[in-house]
């Protein structure tokens, strides 16, 4: 079965450090989503791309977060500088337009 691959699976770092999370979408999928999951807020959409172009990043704090798709096989989400409130599980999902979203297993991020 094709899967969305996210790396790293776990990341612990200190406040102020840069964090980069990577996602390899399923081959052939043209839509990529980044979500953040916390106990308090649940799953929140941060940004999504279609055909590598950013369509909506209104859910993302612009001052410290950035999302890119350098090519069709890689999506990145960066936080700089990181803060303790960024601690969460970050999920990437991919799909086809109007089709189901397939989620990776997430990056569990802890900012000390």
């Amino acid at each position: 079965d094709a899967r969305v691959t996210q790396t790293p699976r776990h990341k612990v770092t200190e406040m102020g450090q840069e964090v980069t999370m990577r996602c390899q979408p399923i081959l052939g999928h043209n839509t990529v989503f980044w979500y953040r999951q916390t106990m308090m807020q649940g799953l929140e959409l941060l940004a999504y791309f279609r055909n590598r172009a950013p369509l909506d990043d209104s859910g993302m704090p612009k001052d410290r977060f950035s999302a890119e798709m350098p090519d069709a096989t890689l999506a990145t989400l960066k936080i700089q500088p990181s803060e303790p409130r960024d601690s969460a599980v970050y999920f990437c999902a991919s799909g086809l337009v109007a089709g189901p979203q397939h989620f990776g297993d997430g990056t569990r991020l802890s900012i000390l």
Binding site: Q41, G42, L43, Y48, A93, V97, F103
Partner: protein, 113 residues
């Protein structure tokens, strides 16, 4: 802002019991999806309902979309320990060239053997 309220937030039942979880909103969605998420993994899609009043069955799971497409329910018959997990509903709305999902916070189900 579109919100999806899920209830109950937590549910612990004995194996063999039936249960229903609810997903409610004041907004209309073009479709509604149900996911199950297990610890350390991402959500996995169970079903998509599109038409108001639609009922879909997946083995012991029955999903219903409200007539007005604002709410949905998931009924599990004779729950098994393997049904344990976080159940998430997500409403889809058309976005710029794609669609966006608004997720509820989930119902955490524990089925005790």
């Amino acid at each position: 802002t579109q919100l999806l309220e899920q209830s109950p937030q937590f549910l612990s039942i004995q194996e063999g019991e039936n249960l229903t979880v609810y997903c409610n909103s004041s907004s209309v969605f073009s479709s509604l999806q149900w996911y199950r998420q297990e610890p350390g993994e991402g959500p996995v899609l169970l079903v998509t309902v599109v038409t108001g009043g639609e009922v879909k069955k997946l083995k012991r799971l029955t999903f219903q979309f409200g007539d007005a497409r604002k709410d949905s329910s998931l009924h599990i018959t004779a729950a098994q320990p393997g049904d344990t997990g976080l159940y998430l509903c997500a409403g889809a709305t058309p976005g710029a060239g794609s669609y966006q999902l608004t997720f509820g916070k989930g119902t955490k189900l524990s089925v005790i053997p």
